[in-house]
Symmetry: C2
Subunit: 192 residues, 2 copies
């Protein structure tokens, strides 16, 4: 295979997304995905556990990015500064040339309740992971949970904005803006 051809894994994920969008996630089989990519089912299962995995494949790499960001933060950084570093590190997963793939992926997920739930649970899992990493740095438990979950809230909002039709700002810029908005909001949180 010449190196200008997309690799088998990319062909599978593009074929899968086309089929999910055309005929729905539920109705698409691994056989159809492999066939559309000109590959065998056996090859499919070399890269993915099942068809859902095509949509959630990046999860572990994203987890590593978040944890790497936490590890990179200066030892004396405040909890939300650590989270900000983790968010910065996550932004590399969402380059502008991946935005259209993410938009199409989101349409598939939005159309299927089980996939929507999976996506929410993925975010919750990321927040737990970051909270544990903050905990390991000696951040008090309550602060670790609040900082981590706020960070994932910022991440989730930035992602939703990033894939909106017509949006051209980078993921990193949207995340910084969302974090600044959160700071401004929380700063005015007086209870009368």
């Amino acid at each position: 295979m010449g190196r200008w051809k997309p690799g088998a894994k990319d062909r599978l994920r593009l074929a899968a997304l086309d089929l999910f969008l055309d005929q729905g996630f539920e109705r698409t089989t691994v056989e159809q995905i492999a066939g559309a990519a000109g590959l065998t089912e056996r090859t499919f299962f070399r890269y993915y556990e099942d068809k859902r995995e095509v949509l959630f494949d990046g999860r572990e790499a994203l987890e590593r990015a978040f944890l790497g960001g936490v590890a990179d933060a200066p030892e004396d950084a405040a909890p939300m500064a650590v989270v900000a570093t983790a968010l910065e590190a996550s932004a590399s997963f969402f380059p502008d040339d991946g935005r259209e793939w993410s938009r199409r992926r989101q349409r598939v997920i939005a159309a299927n309740a089980a996939l929507r739930e999976r996506e929410l649970l993925k975010l919750a899992g990321l927040a737990e992971l970051v909270a544990r990493a903050l905990d390991d740095r000696g951040v008090p438990a309550a602060q670790a949970v609040l900082a981590a979950e706020s960070g994932l809230t910022v991440f989730g909002l930035a992602f939703a904005q990033w894939i909106e039709e017509g949006e051209t700002r980078s993921f990193a810029d949207l995340q910084r803006e969302a974090l600044a908005t959160l700071r401004a909001l929380a700063g005015s949180a007086g209870i009368a």
Copy 2:
């Protein structure tokens, strides 16, 4: 039935929780729950759709409390002040004499992956609801999402603390404290 006896619904939910704790959620049947409460299955289904509903029954009332809190906030209140009012309104659902029930319920949920997911999705649903209510008040979309999700993060943390063994502070106090901690954290969220 004398009015000093617990009503049928309370008997069912207490019997269900005992059985869930003793033998596990999955292995418990509606027939067993009804039997343990001295009632018929038919009576069970008058109060609950299925056995899971026994654990998630309060959801709609909690939603109404949150929305009532949003509605009660002064028209010119800042988004996080509106959320704080909604949180205050939610606290009435967690009186001290309900803490032991909540602790036991949580043990059932913690032991079952599907129930843990249901609980997470319930929180996510509450955040969406509050975000929409803020949106309806004219709060810009991004602020509505950030304020609502931060509020539910505070709620979730306070709830987790409230049901810890040995915890004696009230739900309302824990929520106020968690919100104050979030404010302090977010205020120091500088990105170097």
